[in-house]
């Protein structure tokens, strides 16, 4: 039976062993926040 698009949807908690790169590229976001924002 054809799967719905979320049938595979579940949480995976990845524990790095230093070998696998989890994503193909780093996050793309450029939030342009104040670089000192949140500094305590």
């Amino acid at each position: 039976m054809e799967k719905t698009k979320y049938e595979e949807c579940k949480i995976e908690v990845i524990v790095f062993d230093g070998q696998d790169v989890i994503v193909t590229s780093p996050g793309d976001c450029d939030f342009e926040t104040d670089p000192l924002s949140g500094v305590v």
Partner: protein, 791 residues
């Protein structure tokens, strides 16, 4: 049935003529192409006749003997109440029109000849011009008698014109101007089918060989309607069989057809230019209806925004052009026929099969229930060019509905484009072939041709390539999961696994990411690419994130492919679009992190959707909402269920060791809660001499990294990753590390930062940074619970 003696005599006398006539006029099913040359031959004969008559002095024109004006049957059939008033004018009209020539010079000469006629009012359409005064003088109608006419100005036309004189050719050149039909019927009916009784015998009499041509030698010419039209009465001919003999059965369609133009039996409409827009029909043919045995050739121009109101929803349709043949047969004898008004009617066999040929032009934005643009019912359709796009069918055939019914033929060649039309059932959106129809290539098909198609039987031969050249890329299946392919002399459909997005996994490690799983089927080739995109709103400015992956950047998961899509913490409500682009098309899907998380939360609890997994999903949503407030991102798109998760983990502020900092170099630390969680430590430049020193980081439990400084105003910033080289995993919230830079050394962890923030802002319950850090702690603890539950 008795035979009228005169008819017999005429029949015998004209037997020779008839023998030639039937071969040229009447459609032969086996040679449908012969119909087109015939129609053109007839039109050519009529044009030659016009030119011949135009050379004669006006006074010799036997207008008074014109049967069209004197035939009471013709006048009785006229629905227009103003028709009798025209009688006195028509002899003069005929006289003038037969010398009129839109080419100019001959009309000027013959105008001089008219001066010899006894003084009377200037007749309408003098010199082949159409003005508003001409329309008004002609009973509010367009020209109805043979001739070539040029629209000299925009006109309003309140009444319907009816070209009834057999053998008439009426040519209308819009010349860039506009006709606004203000009535409720239609602009034109061409052809005349009437019931006559001759010496007690009933006959159906067809006034045939009538043609109407719409052209536009200037451009931007328009025919439009100011109110909703209905069309006019379709006096169709069918077959009535009595004792095994077929006789013509003449009826009038209850609901009107042909919102702009109705074409009756044995007549032809030529659409060569200009735009027809804004017409409706009660029944078939929002713009044009071709009755049983009528013909239309569209070589240019445009039909747009015309609609069949489909009074009988299972039967009616064609927003632009409908074309019929009766269900009872393709021809019938025992019918009287006139090919010119000055000839006696001849008993003949007439064709009841209409034809539509499209060689150019455009049909768009039309609608009808059965056939959005075109519907051909048991008649012949040939398409060699033109574009049919953006039309909509309520039931079948957004572009073209073709129903063969054992009589019709469908041929294509050249470069037609039938694509981008619509129907609620996607497979019926463009060309929909009912019955076991096979379309034949009657000539080579250009690689520019594009035909989207479907049919009730996906296993049949859809196209017979007939030895002609073509490109398989021109044939596009509208059946989901099917693709056109070549099988011998035919184009058929085969089932293929088409690319699609299979699903999503939420990943929480050193990054927050969505794992997107894809089905590529036979398109797992280097031509396939995947694009993802989402956008976010920061302080009212929208920013777009987009990336395209090549096939080689996808990971082969055996029966599927996948890639990871990092999602920033503040972008969990952004709609993510994933598009697979492959050689034969595109497949896309949309989702968001919140949508995935809610799916997990709302799913029935089972081995895959445990309480611990749901807790992570809930805390992720709350954490993301706090990031939105901290960064002022997507604040108009907050998640609906952004509240502290159940069993919210809390912590206290103190108990962290300050750094050894003899030079007071240390300024402070922030943690970037993005898709990667990193620790950013700031030191005053003034505390260091010379170049910025590198920082050494050693992690509890092993591993180290050397970090170079990034200048930032008066500070050096050191960005510390997790031990894996990516961000700190949520489960690494308490992972400590020792840092040393210059004379400063100390220990730190993500949890240290959480405690420092709490110390600073405790009591300020609205402080967004405090809320974010508290949310992250709960999220981290829930991740640890989950990790332990699956260990």
């Amino acid at each position: 049935m008795k035979r009228f003696i005169k008819a017999i005599a005429a029949f015998c006398a004209m037997a020779m003529i008839f023998g030639v006539f039937s071969a040229t006029v009447f459609a032969d099913e086996n040679e449908p192409q012969a119909e087109q040359p015939v129609a053109e031959e007839v039109a050519e004969e009529e044009k030659q006749d016009e030119e011949a008559v135009a050379e004669e002095p006006a006074v010799e024109t036997p207008a008074a003997d014109d049967p069209a004006t004197e035939d009471p049957a013709a006048e009785e059939s006229e629905a227009d109440a103003e028709a009798p008033a025209q009688d006195s004018e028509q002899p003069v009209v005929e006289e003038t029109l037969e010398v009129a020539d839109v080419e100019g010079q001959e009309a000027v000469n013959e105008g001089e000849g008219n001066e010899e006629v006894p003084q009377q009012a200037i007749p309408p359409f003098a010199n082949g011009q159409i003005t508003q005064d001409d329309i008004d003088a002609n009973g509010g109608k367009m020209p109805e008698t043979a001739g070539t006419y040029t629209l000299a100005e925009d006109v309003e036309v309140p009444n319907s014109a009816h070209i009834t004189a057999a053998g008439s050719s009426v040519i209308i050149n819009l010349a860039g101007n506009k006709i606004t039909y203000t009535g409720t019927e239609n602009l034109y009916t061409i052809g005349f089918v009437e019931d006559v009784n001759i010496d007690g015998t009933d006959w159906v009499l067809v006034h045939g060989d009538i043609s109407l041509t719409i052209k536009d030698t200037v451009g931007e010419g328009l025919i439009t309607a100011s109110q909703k039209t209905k069309g006019s009465d379709d006096h169709w001919i069918s077959i009535n069989t009595v004792n095994g003999v077929n006789y013509p059965n003449h009826g009038t369609e209850a609901n009107k057809r042909g919102g702009c133009i109705l074409v009756q039996n044995s007549c032809t409409l030529y659409l060569e230019g200009g735009t027809i827009s804004g017409f409706h029909s009660q029944s078939d043919g929002g713009a044009v209806h071709i009755s049983n045995g009528g013909h239309c050739v569209m070589s240019g121009g445009r039909i747009t925004n015309c609609h069949s109101d489909s009074v009988k929803p299972n039967d009616d349709g064609a927003g632009a052009i409908s074309c019929h043949c009766t269900s009872k047969g393709t021809e019938v004898g025992h019918t009287l026929y006139k090919s010119s008004e000055d000839a006696d009617p001849v008993e003949t066999t007439i064709s009841l099969k209409g034809s539509l040929k499209i060689t150019g032009g455009q049909i768009d934005n039309c609608s009808g229930r059965q056939g959005g643009a075109v519907r051909v019912l048991r008649a012949d359709l040939e398409i060699t060019g033109g574009t049919i796009e953006d039309n909509t069918a309520g039931a079948n055939g957004g572009g073209i509905l073709f129903t063969k019914g054992n009589t019709g033929t469908f041929k294509i060649s050249g470069d037609p484009v039938i694509s981008g039309n619509h129907c609620s059932d996607a497979k019926k959106a463009n060309v929909w072939l009912s019955d076991n129809v096979t379309v034949t290539l009657s000539g080579n098909l250009s690689s520019d041709a594009k035909i989207e198609f479907g049919g009730g039987n996906t296993t049949k031969n859809f196209f017979n390539t007939n030895g002609k050249s073509y490109s398989i890329d021109s044939f596009i299946s509208n059946h989901d999961g099917y693709k056109a392919y070549v099988s011998g002399s035919y184009i058929k459909l085969k089932q293929v696994i088409m690319p699609k997005v299979l699903g999503y996994n939420l990943l929480i490690g050193g990054e927050i990411a969505v794992k997107v799983s894809l089905q590529l089927g036979e398109y797992n080739t280097s031509d396939t690419t995947v694009n993802y995109s989402y956008s976010y709103d920061k302080n009212g400015t929208v920013k777009n994130i987009e990336k395209t992956l090549t096939f080689y950047q996808l990971t082969n998961g055996g029966d599927h492919y996948y890639f990871y899509l990092p999602v920033e913490s503040a972008c969990m409500t952004s709609e993510i679009t994933v598009t697979i682009t492959y050689t034969d098309g595109e497949a896309s899907d949309t989702s968001s992190v919140v949508e995935c998380a809610n799916y997990i939360i709302n799913h029935e609890t089972d081995q895959n959707y445990t309480a611990e997994a749901k807790a992570v999903a809930k805390s992720l949503i709350y954490f993301g909402s706090c990031a939105q407030l901290q960064f002022n991102i997507n604040t108009d798109n907050m998640p609906a269920n952004a509240v502290p998760a159940d069993n919210f983990y809390t912590y206290t502020g103190a108990s962290y060791a300050p750094a050894q900092d003899p030079d007071s170099a240390y300024y402070g630390t922030s943690v970037a809660f993005l898709s990667m969680t990193t620790v950013n430590m700031y030191f005053k430049k003034s505390a260091f001499e010379g170049d910025a020193p590198a920082m050494t980081v050693t992690y509890d439990g092993g591993g180290s990294q050397t970090i170079t400084a990034t200048p930032n105003g008066n500070y050096y910033m050191y960005s510390i990753m997790g031990p894996s080289g990516n961000g700190f995993a949520a489960t690494e919230v308490d992972l400590g590390f020792t840092y040393s830079v210059g004379n400063v050394n100390g220990t730190y962890s993500i949890f240290t930062y959480l405690q420092v923030v709490k110390d600073k802002y405790e009591g300020s319950s609205s402080n967004v940074l405090l809320k974010l850090t508290e949310a992250y702690y709960d999220f981290a603890m829930k991740c640890l619970d989950y990790k332990n539950s699956v260990a």
